[in-house]
């Protein structure tokens, strides 16, 4: 295998400062985001939401709203004939029919000539509710006799999993040490800075167009077409600039897209719907909260024998991607270490709270918090250094992990060693706490959509010799387009400045499952590479045909003797005239073989895997429990780094989100009501809350990714949680197992208080 594990390498040289063209619009304020987008004659939509967590809708009177001047449409669930839809399971309707299941559930929608009129129309709708008993605590929701949310899901179980690998019972019997604890992780929101919006346009001749920025426009398009019962080709999604995604805009807010579409169909006018920041928190979907009871069995020498987990994830009222997130949460982290046996039981439970979905890293970070905390507990009990314990157990190249993942490149042990070295593991400062944590993340999941494991791209030669790459992979600032331009530039031997990357319109872009699961650079990048290579071959062939002699490609000049076209532009023009108007286009199809996995999910489910180890240095004010994170070292094996600056940007940003989730963030509920639906009370880190962050890249040469590269976008936030939790435990001498690690909880642990009053 062509790996050179263990070296911190200088990244691919000259391209390191390359920025894609979008950047100029963004710094000058000229980029048009969804919230900036409008069309002539556009109406403004608003949604009436349930004020109750669980109630029957007895009657809705819309006559008052309909008769208001300026109101163009009023919709209720009863007026629609939609089937239930969903992402992982079908459990939602565009507008509530008989029942509302959380505070915020969509009950009616209006479209009016301006937002104020729309607001007044909402006030003019009267709804008769009959309250039902509600349930907020997933443990209670599982009890006999608990209020039931969905008829189709008896017992309030949205999804479940019972998983066993190896022989955990024997392992626990044989163990010298068993460590266990219960960990709780609250719901967290991606908190992209731009609230979601959508402008829907419909006419019977041209079909439906949605102007909204999505990580996976094709997936949303398919669902909208299905719900509205329109042929797929009549639905088009065009993406304006996107103000952040982090998984939250893979499917975005489906309800919003469907309701704006329904309003556009009904009125024949463009309709804009926009979430407020408060709605983002109360109806825009956070990631599932989890409570994880975990046990780990070890031998005296530190060898891990088995791990057992009993997990409950809180789905809220509807499912979206929560089943998939729960699946990742229940298994991915197991492949960080060589685990011979695993038992996992997971229940995803409906409650009368905000519906959940996903966030960067798909729950892997929640499991990291639990596992890595246990690792340090075990190290303490066994008297083995936490670094040493991890090195003795960590997954290595050539392994097939407990869930069947095949690890073809892996620098995890180097990541651990380098991170520890950089944080000063061997020379710890007095009064500071130190923590380590390790992670794995799949990149390019082959199971997300079995029929679309890969990606495709087109490389079109423009008449002036520039090249346009058409891809379905979205860029919302994570640097995908810059990376693609670099990959194509290398394949074509062309200046990356001459390459434009185009995506964001389902009419012209190849299909893609979207910007998720760290598949972009790995899978999307391979397709771009192949498209560019195909174009290059076509150019050389055509040039040869044109001149009747062999030609070679040197930079963008075709070298040969007389009669050879001077450059790309000449070839482009030649082809253009030859075909009466076509552009020479390279096609790239990257189709990985089907994943080989069984019913239990055992098998190699991804093209390749990224690894990381983080180390944190913290300080605790013992009088108050106040936590200061001083440094965080992030050592990553993401294969060869394509664009150093944007890889660093991913590390800084992802680590900061990890710090947010570790120290500050989390939904608070007052019954079924979100108690902190604002940036003032849902606290993401400010510039003053971010410690020194040191990115280290341990570059392996991965056989699967383009030019040996692997993904980085999601794994960056995974190990932060465990590293900080362990550093806090080291500094405090007591462990907090309930996120976020607030000063209050740390102080309680220090002071030995039982629990908050």
């Amino acid at each position: 295998m062509k790996t050179d594990t263990g070296t911190v390498k200088v990244p691919i040289g000259e391209e390191k400062d390359f920025q894609s063209a979008e950047i100029w619009a963004r710094v000058t304020g000229k980029a048009v985001y969804g919230s900036d987008f409008s069309l002539p004659g556009m109406l403004y939509g608003k949604i009436l939401r349930s004020p109750y967590p669980h109630a029957l809708v007895k009657n809705i009177d819309i006559s008052g709203a309909e008769s208001l001047p300026g109101v163009r449409a009023v919709l209720t669930g009863a007026g629609l004939q939609c089937k239930k839809y969903g992402i992982a399971v079908d459990d939602e309707l565009p507008l509530a029919l008989e029942k509302v299941r959380y505070i915020g559930d969509e009950v009616a929608a209006v479209a009016a000539v301006d937002p104020e009129t729309a607001e007044r129309a909402l006030e003019a709708i009267s709804v008769g509710y009959e309250n039902l008993p509600a349930v907020y605590d997933p443990d209670k929701a599982l009890e006999e006799g608990a209020p039931q949310l969905h008829e189709d899901f008896p017992g309030n179980t949205a999804w479940q999993r019972d998983l066993r690998r190896g022989n955990p019972d024997a392992a626990f019997k044989e163990a010298d040490l068993v460590v266990e604890n219960k960990f709780t992780i609250p719901a967290v929101h991606p908190a992209y800075l731009e609230p979601i919006s959508c402008v829907a346009v419909y006419d019977p001749y041209n079909g439906l167009i949605l102007h909204t920025a999505l990580q996976s426009p094709d997936s949303v398009r398919a669902i909208v077409a299905r719900v509205l019962e329109m042929p797929l080709s009549r639905v088009r999604v065009i993406g304006p600039a996107m103000g952040g995604g982090f998984g939250g805009r893979v499917y975005g807010n489906l309800k919003l897209y469907i309701i704006s579409s329904l309003l556009a169909v009904k009125t024949g006018r463009p309709v804009k719907l926009e979430l407020t920041r408060e709605e983002e928190f109360t109806v825009g979907r956070p990631m599932v909260s989890a409570s994880i009871k975990m046990r780990m069995a070890l031998r005296r020498d530190g060898k891990i024998l088995a791990r057992e987990a009993d997990i409950i994830t809180d789905n809220g009222a509807y499912s979206a991607q929560a089943p998939w997130v729960s699946k990742t949460l229940s298994e991915r982290n197991d492949s960080v270490y060589r685990l011979p046996a695993v038992r996992t039981r997971l229940r995803l439970v409906y409650t009368n709270k905000v519906p959940t979905a996903q966030y960067r890293a798909y729950g892997n970070q929640a499991a990291n918090f639990a596992t890595e905390s246990l690792m340090d507990m075990a190290a303490g009990e066994l008297g083995i250094d936490p670094l040493e314990l991890r090195l003795r157990n960590c997954t290595r190249e050539g392994d097939t992990t407990v869930h069947g993942l095949q690890i073809e490149s892996c620098a995890l042990s180097s990541c651990l060693q380098e991170a520890a070295k950089e944080i000063g593991w061997g020379s710890k400062k007095e009064g500071r706490g130190y923590g380590l944590s390790a992670a794995i993340h799949a990149n390019g999941s082959l199971v997300f959509d079995k029929n679309f494991r890969g990606s495709s791209a087109l490389a079109r030669l423009e008449l002036d010799g520039r090249v346009t790459i058409f891809t379905g992979e979205q860029d919302y600032g994570q640097g995908t387009h810059a990376a693609f331009a670099l990959i194509a530039a290398r394949a074509l031997d062309l200046d990356p400045q001459l390459i434009t990357v185009q995506s964001g319109d389902t009419l012209s872009s190849p299909y893609s499952t979207g910007a998720l699961a760290m598949r972009q650079t790995t899978i999307g990048g391979r397709a771009v590479q192949l498209a560019a290579r195909d174009l290059r071959e076509k150019i050389t062939r055509l040039a040869a045909e044109l001149s009747g002699q062999q030609v070679a490609l040197e930079k963008d000049i075709l070298a040969g003797t007389s009669g050879v076209p001077r450059d790309f532009a000449a070839v482009a023009y030649y082809y253009h005239t030859l075909t009466s108007g076509l552009n020479l286009t390279g096609e790239g199809k990257f189709v990985p073989g089907p994943a080989d996995y069984d019913e239990s999910g055992y098998g190699n489910i991804s093209l390749t895997y990224s690894f990381a180890a983080h180390a944190a240095e913290v300080e605790i004010d013992r009088a108050t429990g106040a936590l200061t994170v001083h440094r965080l070292v992030a050592a990553h094996d993401s294969g060869r780094i394509v664009n150093y600056r944007s890889a660093c940007g991913q590390v800084y940003g992802g680590v900061t989100q990890g710090i947010g989730m570790s120290c500050y963030e989390g939904y608070l509920f007052d019954g079924g009501r979100v108690a902190n639906p604002s940036f003032a009370d849902y606290r993401i880190p400010t510039s003053l809350d971010v410690p020194e962050i040191v990115p280290l890249f341990i570059e392996t040469e991965d056989p699967a990714g383009p030019y040996g590269s692997k993904g980085i976008g999601e794994i960056v936030m995974v190990p932060v949680l465990g590293a900080i939790a362990n550093a806090v435990a080291d500094a405090a001498g007591a462990r907090v197992t309930d996120l976020p690690l607030t000063a209050e909880k740390i102080y309680e642990a220090l002071a030995g208080w039982e629990c908050a009053d």
């Binding site: 108050t624 809350d689 209050e744 908050a756």
Partner: protein, 289 residues
């Protein structure tokens, strides 16, 4: 709505009077704008003297429309009313501090408003004038009715200025707060103190913590206990206990439990006293020992 940017006090008072309670005074609008807006607003920030910072005869006069940013960067306030500069600097964000005012912070009557807590510790007075032409002067801590409700009726009365006795020889003040995030965050607890140190002993201590009651709350018993004590480790320990015992605080889902808040009150009270006394001793010309 109508909006008047008043250019003279007379104009503002006349407008308020003529509006018969439907007009309200506004300064930075950072609190008011997020609430239900009244029929009309009278903006005071352009009034002559609205943002003055002056000192005469040991009395500092501050215009009610002084912004937190200006207060936090004023050399006079930094040296003679340090707690206020620190309190103002802790507020919200640079953008908020650039426009939000001292007067608004007091009249908005949030129980743990940072500038107000510092002002009460400093013993500040408020100078008010109403539409009937009556003028009054009140201690800032007396301007609170119930939680989030000021004794100043901003539809008929204007807070013109705040006055503070300048900290002189042997005096010092300090402010501190405990917040879950380093910017854009309201405090779980804040505290401020003004002390005089004579012959190495505390005299005339004013020690304030919040949120405890509707107004920033003086810890009278702890203050009394401190009279004549020396600033030293033993004292801080006693203060921590006394302050915690003196107050009863509330739990809040968004902030923290009562038990923890109570603990913080003690810690912050001791810390802020220590900081204030260090400043007083610098002033006294004695080094920290």
């Amino acid at each position: 709505m109508s909006y008047l940017v008043a250019t003279s006090l007379e104009e503002a008072l006349t407008y308020l009077r003529d509006s018969g309670g439907r007009a309200r005074v506004v300064a930075g609008a950072t609190d008011l704008y997020l609430k239900d807006l009244p029929h009309s607003l009278v903006d005071l920030s352009a009034l002559p003297g609205a943002s003055v910072i002056e000192e005469a005869d040991g009395l500092i006069t501050l215009g009610a429309c002084l912004t937190h940013a200006s207060a936090a960067s004023s050399i006079l306030i930094l040296s003679r009313a340090t707690a206020l500069a620190e309190g103002c600097m802790a507020i919200g964000s640079p953008q908020i501090r650039n426009i939000a005012t001292l007067g608004g912070n007091v009249v908005n009557a949030a129980p743990a408003a940072d500038a107000a807590v510092a002002l009460v510790a400093l013993g500040a007075s408020a100078v008010l004038v109403d539409t009937g032409g009556r003028s009054r002067e009140e201690a800032v801590e007396d301007l609170y009715v119930i939680f989030n409700r000021s004794a100043v009726d901003s539809t008929s009365e204007i807070l013109l200025k705040l006055t503070i006795k300048s900290c002189g020889t042997g005096e010092g003040s300090a402010f501190t707060r405990f917040a879950p995030r380093r910017a854009l965050s309201l405090p779980l607890v804040n505290a401020a103190a003004r002390v005089r140190i004579e012959n190495g002993c505390f005299r005339e201590v004013r020690l304030v913590v919040a949120p405890v009651k509707p107004a920033p709350t003086r810890l009278l018993q702890t203050e009394a206990m401190l009279e004549g004590m020396a600033p030293c480790e033993e004292t801080w320990r006693l203060v921590e206990r006394a302050a915690s015992e003196e107050v009863e605080v509330r739990s809040s889902l968004l902030r923290c439990s009562a038990r923890y808040r109570n603990h913080l009150v003690g810690v912050l009270a001791a810390r802020v006293l220590q900081a204030a006394s260090e400043r007083a001793r610098e002033e006294e010309g004695v080094d920290g020992r």
